[in-house]
Symmetry: C2
Subunit: 966 residues, 2 copies
Amino acid sequence: MSSYKPAYFRVASVDPSQPPQQPQQPQQHQQQSTTDPAEFVRDLLAKEACCEATSVRPLFCQLDQLNSVPGPDGLSLTQVWREKFRWIKFEEELEVTGNRWSVPYVPVLSPFSVMEARRQLDSGLTLLMKVDSDDGPAAAGGLKCIAEEVEANLVTRLGTDAAEEVKRLLLTRHINFVEKVEDKDEENAGRKTNKKYRKKVHKDAEGCSIMVGAVQTLRAPVSVFVRLEQPLKDEPLMEIDLPIRFLYLLLGPKPSALSDLVLVAKAVATLMTDEIFHKVAYLANSKVELIAGVDEFLKCSSILPPIGCSLTDRIPPPMEKPNTEHRHADQKEPQEPAVVEHGEAEGLQRTGRLFGGLVQDVKRRAPWYKSDFLDALHPQTIGSFFFIYFACIAPIITFGGMLSDATNGYLGAMESILSGLICGVSYALFAGQPLTILGSTGPVLVFETIVFKMCDRYHWDYLPFRWWIGMWTALLLLVTVALDLSYLVKYITRFTEESFALLIAVIFVYEALAKLFKISSDYPVNKYWHPKHEVIVECECLPNDNLTELIPVPPKMARQLPTYRDGNVTVANFSAMDYYSWDHDLFWRTCPQYGGVWVGRGCGLFNVPDVFFFSCLLFIATFFLCYTLKKARASSLFPTFVRRLISDFAVMIAICVVTSVDYIMDLHTPKLLIPVSFEPTLGYTYRGWVVRPFGNNPWFTSLIAIGPALLATILVFLDQQITSVIVNRRENKMRKGAGFHLDLLVVAVCIAINSALGLPWFVAATVLSINHVLSLREESECTAPGERPVLLGCRENRVTGLLVFLCIGLSVFMSPLLRHIPMPVLYGVFLFMGVASLNGMQLFDRFLLLLQPRKNQPDMACLREVKLWRVHLFTGIQLGCFALLWVVKKISLISIAFPLMVLSLCFARKLLDYVFTRNELRLLDDLLPEQKLEETIRLRRRSRMSTAVDLEELAQAEDDEQEKAV
Amino acid sequence: MSSYKPAYFRVASVDPSQPPQQPQQPQQHQQQSTTDPAEFVRDLLAKEACCEATSVRPLFCQLDQLNSVPGPDGLSLTQVWREKFRWIKFEEELEVTGNRWSVPYVPVLSPFSVMEARRQLDSGLTLLMKVDSDDGPAAAGGLKCIAEEVEANLVTRLGTDAAEEVKRLLLTRHINFVEKVEDKDEENAGRKTNKKYRKKVHKDAEGCSIMVGAVQTLRAPVSVFVRLEQPLKDEPLMEIDLPIRFLYLLLGPKPSALSDLVLVAKAVATLMTDEIFHKVAYLANSKVELIAGVDEFLKCSSILPPIGCSLTDRIPPPMEKPNTEHRHADQKEPQEPAVVEHGEAEGLQRTGRLFGGLVQDVKRRAPWYKSDFLDALHPQTIGSFFFIYFACIAPIITFGGMLSDATNGYLGAMESILSGLICGVSYALFAGQPLTILGSTGPVLVFETIVFKMCDRYHWDYLPFRWWIGMWTALLLLVTVALDLSYLVKYITRFTEESFALLIAVIFVYEALAKLFKISSDYPVNKYWHPKHEVIVECECLPNDNLTELIPVPPKMARQLPTYRDGNVTVANFSAMDYYSWDHDLFWRTCPQYGGVWVGRGCGLFNVPDVFFFSCLLFIATFFLCYTLKKARASSLFPTFVRRLISDFAVMIAICVVTSVDYIMDLHTPKLLIPVSFEPTLGYTYRGWVVRPFGNNPWFTSLIAIGPALLATILVFLDQQITSVIVNRRENKMRKGAGFHLDLLVVAVCIAINSALGLPWFVAATVLSINHVLSLREESECTAPGERPVLLGCRENRVTGLLVFLCIGLSVFMSPLLRHIPMPVLYGVFLFMGVASLNGMQLFDRFLLLLQPRKNQPDMACLREVKLWRVHLFTGIQLGCFALLWVVKKISLISIAFPLMVLSLCFARKLLDYVFTRNELRLLDDLLPEQKLEETIRLRRRSRMSTAVDLEELAQAEDDEQEKAV
């Protein structure tokens, strides 16, 4: 052990006056005479760790300064140790007010103070007693005994007087920040400790008490470092009640500045809280080993020049812990795990047997089935339930409203809620990964829209045709499950996923705005109004004597015309009270359709005052509220849980607030179409709960449906499996394994059932699923101020999902309330969902690069290694693919083929292998689901100029940041 | 000089196996045997600086790596030096793509690499030739000659072969990043340098070329540091064409890692760009002095522990340069200048003589009068003119519209423009500080509103009463000038100013919203509309046979009723085409007033469709556009000048865009009231350009006016002088001096003139004035990437102000265009002005503290040293004062006294001296104008969690950040 000669400290031994030496190599590899401190320490830790692994504990450090305070008589001065700094991972300073801790920050040391600390540890008194690793009794005799031992050791160095002074100071009273000086007479009886802060420190942690002071009576500085055999317990040295293992005392003679001594003591404290050095402090058998620890620390530290930092700066803790793997001896595995293809992920291998994957899934999940219910017995699941319920109900209603618009009321909010009940409950009970949340998704909405338009064109009955599509789709999905085709998900890269995601986001934004502007055609603005005040709108529907033939009644209109039921066309008696939703177009057409005529001077100037602009205001308000409230999590106002509540329920709050405003204004804005009682949106007159497979359709429609079914299969497969991979990715630390094939089977069965009942299809919804997982995650409880909590795992259970969808089922009874929700509010939510999904998209960030001058571009990983024009080329190709998708979706003749185009994106991506190098593609296009989140966070840490930030992630990061100490 | 023994490097010389030494003191004050490197370097620089001050030049460093590239024959490999890093102040790395520089960042060094660099400088070959300080000829013989000298010096150390190899490498070709390898055959003929980057380097700068490589043939490392007597010129060593003064060559034997060698070379480069060390490098006479320089650098550097930083991090340059004053020997003055009271500022002392201050002002400014015009001969003034013109015209029109609302059209946009012409031109020609910009301000608007209401209550004529107030005010201001009372400004602290500013901001927000909602009473929403479509609004104005007496015609209405001029009450012929602005209230009342009656079934249900909600949309759009465009400056999109343009003209763009939308929609929204041709807003019928001093008012109103005049004097004085102090503060580096008394005199004269002409009063407008100064500031042209430009001064001139207000005067001819501006747009601008002024207010930040949990609070200076509840108490008192102001303003009986309340805030502040300690007040309440900006920036740098950010400052800071190199 004494063979340690630090490799880098020869510098000062070269006397400048001597003739120049034979130059030596800057690297020490070939020089056996000196030792690399890092290697030395690695060897030491490896050797010691195997025999006494348990003795190393986390450390809490506290630095106390020697202060003089008025004594009990109020006249003479007494000396006390006053707390000034503390460390768990990062440094905190007690502000001069004495009752407020600074934010945690990275300790900034002076190079010379570290070297002085090294020198003092070396030349001062360093007592390294052998650590008793058992949680044994406290040190016999307590502090007093130790102080006497220190005194005895110091007598030869300093003389009797000074040694006695040191002993006295060691026994001097400490006053921590929760105590007052006046408490000091009461001795230990009234000792106050910081119980709240105790929770931030590991339960097995031990303490290191550091004392520093300038003393009049000393002639020379005194440095005493003591590692105790048995920790001190119940000694009132520190702010929190911990067994104290280390003592460090640094005293200087009075003329020396206390601030200089404190710098040296801070260096010791920073060493003691260092990941590696604190192990060395526990395991070192000699001073030499301790000093080697200091050198290792120095080797791994960084020097910032004067221009970059000053000693008084408070540097915030880094978002991500710097990589220190190289400091650990025993971690030999590669730091960046080789990229695992999805196909190789657990549960996605091809078995080669029919239903092989499915059988494996069932075998994997069956043993956990009981625990899936028992693991829900935790208060966290209650919070998760409320959060996910409200997070689900809002989009179900929104998509319901959109679907109703798209399918003329055949599929509406009522059907969506019912579908949620059936799919959600089945999935929660039988799926392989019950944490995935099903919902309506953008692609399915687009698909339904296209199918409905198709039926309209060929005059087919919608629901029966859809019945066939559903059955075929379920069959095809079953084949997919049987053949373990889920492994194909490995051909999906970020390129494909983001082009597709962009399409969906743009559809959301476009549809939201288009629907909003459509209101202005149903509720025309009065452009002819004039202050001249000659508005004369006289127009009434009067019966026509020449009763013409009746035109077939469109389903929705019939609901609006109760009078029709009696067969009497007394159109003048129309009563709006009976309308579920007033639709100008239909209304305006109604009178002539039933043989009436509009009579009056104002009939040509029909308009609905105020409704359109008021709808715009509702729309803007909803979007703005959603956006602002969602961001509330990153605000610094209010306690964390309040902000989290506001952020989690942002959409819900926005809908409620804006709907209330609309209700108060009472302006006949278009409302959500939903029946008062439990019945189909269009009522039993137009559809029942069981769809007849043919209806009025010709027989061959059942065969034609295979085409759309094939396309639907592609969509459902992509939507479902991409989300599944994201939920099951390694970072989430799931313990119970995935069930990709079983999941898909449940979805297939639900699609069959829903098609038979005429309900919308549900597949895995990415954002909801991620939120579900996040809301159930288990984190390490004690985290040092400034440190991010560590994810331990996830409370994998079936109960939250089950309860959520049962309650969503019960929401059918809320329909009298839901009927008050204006459609512009739902459009606003839709816009928000589109805009939010644009954020955090790498494609979007790369698109911005096109507009950013080179010097303003963020420090993205791909920019460092790929030439800019090649990045732009990649972005350009991706945007081209998106444009193609958009065009296909827009041309109604071929729009049904758009899922096929999504699939062709995978092939387009394959072609890119011939345009870009392997390395360029690695940087520009990941295997998406595994790495997306990591990458984004890493990028953000590197660049503080990053422009686009994903809301969810930002919130998460901020949350973690807020978990700091009080 | 050889007495230098570094004080802190004894550590390594203590052999751990030796018995413990007699401990030494950690401070070296009492030890004369060692030297503090910092003191040593200070002495060195002080001594050398006096004799050869001119020889030290700024340095540019470039690090080249030895690379092998295919030779001319395409087969064998040739060695070349390839550029990899460069430094002006901060480090830049050439990314692996080879055509992109990283963002500039703070160099992060390893402690051991710095020590190795120190060792190599010490033990390697260090040739310090005496620097020839004259800008003499290039080194004779060029690089070749130097290479030979190096070779000769190395022969004894390394042997002939190695020395020859070093010579060869020194003469090896360099390829910088603007060159291609293929260029290399063309020799110097086609040398490419980076001319754009040259501008970032000081024109007198010299170069330091650093070469680092691993060489197969060497046995031992070679370090060569050369300072040349005459710099190398025209040698193609570096990316830019600079005389090269320093050469550093570091070669290692092949098995050593190039990356390790690069770390050491980077340490040398960082040293060479260090503020102090580069002077040492120029002035050192011996190696010892050079090494002392390294030690001084180390002493002033910071060590970050492994948890806080890693060597690969790119740390962004700090917003503010860390304080390095202590490193300079010759700067003995205190770093924080003692707080200067405003009274002691230049031009604010009491002379004790009548008009003493005024005479001094004239004497001070007169010699500069000619230069005030000549200094405008710079392209920057053109940009400044356009910016300030558009920045001024928008608020003048906005305030004009608001004043018109407040005074029933007596003072309107036309009057505002005219006032701008008179006041602006006079001020630009005669004021002491022509950079101050006059404008309408919030307090004056409030005052005018109150006076008008007062006149309304007592049935006095407004303009004549205002004539008297204006004259008295002018007189009182004259007295203020005569008695040098401007010194009183020293009693205004941030406490007073911010309470007052908050009042103004809240008034802006309140008024904007109140005015918007007032639209809904003029243009009622149709709440009775019903889909039943029985809207029957039949209502016509028909002549009444029982013609009743005529009610006196209110001035505004008369303009709207051209038919009245003929004396014929044919009200049914009202034509909106003739209306300047349609006003429902007036309109609705018109018919009965002229003896008509409204006849029809719909008369009870009168409403104006769509206008109110459309106005809301315009209002929101304007506010949102202003806010977003203003923030554009901080965006990363588009080049700096585009963003600056967008940000500077944000309000103008917003007004134009939204007005266009309104024009297209053509919905009869209320418009700005302004005559088509040059005449008073109400037309000559109701007022002329000369106000009669009494009008119909009783004689005693001239005496009553003294009361309001006293209050107006307080307001004008406060508004004018606070702005003046801000404009003239030291940081702006004005050279021509201030003229507080002269400024006030000009304002007083303008108030007298404007009152006589019936125009609004103009006083100094803070935001506009600051923008004017900023737009004219001269900055150092060469700034290193990552460095903020240094303010050199300001182009103080009278021409920009003069031209701006002449053009504003010409804007009266724009009135046909201005008439299209809808009032909701102006309200939106008003709201924006209010909200923008809330940002950056310390009171607002402190108010947020009340809502922030302790751990989320920003790291404000006051929080570090003042207990939280005392901060809250201060905030509470301040809010109380604000509430009192608000109440006084609202109670119409005493609202006129509100300027008095503002004054009383100064007394309230005095009382706080008894509640808070001196130190607390220093932290909570500055002498406002000098320190506000500095303080805010400092706070922001300290805390990255700061919530509220002043838009202007943010933009400024970001601008500076954008000024980075390409």
